[in-house]
């Protein structure tokens, strides 16, 4: 039952990406292209996606987190860290470069697989390799000397 519910929740997420236009990397790149503002090619749509998503999530989280516990789990797994370390800047900086190169972040890239595009498959394969590599390095015993552990609940 939980599995079916999580499938449906992923489906809603994917539909949101398609309806919002974010399954199209060209739209994302045209938002990131602030140099296109003078030329009139800037596409502000992504800001509206974020606004719609944050508005619903802000209100929804406030209500849901007042419940005693989640419907299918024993407790809420909400991140608690507040400190700004190097990792919370370096990681997003690296991710942002990849995002700007192609126009895919992880969600839309996975949804793009369902469009049947060969480019999306290549991107997702490389993305998974990058994810595995990051987790591998972070789990090396020697890495504790130069990285602070990630917050496992944040994503």
């Amino acid at each position: 039952m939980t599995i079916l519910v999580q499938f449906a929740i992923g489906l809603i997420f994917g539909l949101g990406l398609i309806v919002s236009g974010m399954s199209n990397p060209a739209k994302v790149l045209n938002f990131l292209d602030v140099g296109g503002i003078p030329a009139g090619t800037w596409d502000a749509s992504l800001a509206f996606v974020m606004a719609g998503a944050v508005a619903v999530t802000f209100i929804g989280f406030n209500r849901v987190l007042k419940l005693a516990r989640p419907f299918f789990a024993d407790r809420f797994y909400v991140p608690t860290r507040n400190d700004i370390d190097l990792r919370i800047v370096v990681g997003p900086a690296i991710f942002g470069v990849g995002w700007g190169l192609v126009g895919f972040c992880p969600g839309p890239a996975l949804t793009a697989l369902g469009f049947g595009s060969a480019s999306a498959f290549i991107f997702v394969a490389a993305m998974c390799a990058g994810m595995v590599l990051a987790r591998y390095i972070a789990h090396l015993p020697s890495s504790t000397r130069f990285v602070t552990p990630a917050d496992p609940l944040e994503t």
Binding site: L11, G16, L17, S20, V34, L67, W99, A150
Partner: protein
């Protein structure tokens, strides 16, 4: 580059659906709807027993366009201009960076900002700025 039309209403509605999904996942499983976290934990090392649920969520993401095509007979435009080598480099950086920074557009951008998390705000500003700088270099520095 290919010009795309500004779609405020559809984007606001689609964004609301993404938000609904994040709220439902928190209600059902008590977890943050962060796609990089969900996708990366499909690979070892495994730290909990949530594998099947995560796989189901990802399957939902992939199935959404299939369902749209079945229901409407077509899919909206999707233009991927990057060539193979850029796709590979971009994919590696996206995967590595999103896991290294504990989240991507969904985990930090949507869920984190909604929780008023300072870490997520720093992350979101950083990947937005890095993305904008990258597109600027790619499009305007040649």
């Amino acid at each position: 580059m290919i010009a795309t039309p500004f779609t405020p209403i559809a984007s606001l509605l689609g964004g609301a659906l993404i938000g609904l999904s994040a709220v439902l996942l928190m209600w059902a499983t008590g977890r943050i709807a962060g796609v990089s976290g969900i996708a990366s934990r499909l690979f070892p090392p495994y730290e909990d027993r949530e594998f099947a649920g995560r796989l189901a969520f990802v399957a939902g993401l992939v199935t959404a366009p299939v369902l749209v095509r079945l229901a409407t007979g077509s899919l909206p435009a999707q233009t991927i201009e990057a060539g193979t080598s850029v796709l590979i480099v971009g994919g590696l950086l996206t995967g590595f960076g999103s896991v290294w920074g504990s989240g991507c557009t969904s985990g930090h951008g949507v869920c984190g900002l909604s929780r008023l998390s300072m870490r997520s705000l720093v992350a979101t500003i950083t990947f937005m700025a890095a993305g904008m700088a990258t597109v600027f270099v790619m499009r305007h520095w040649s």
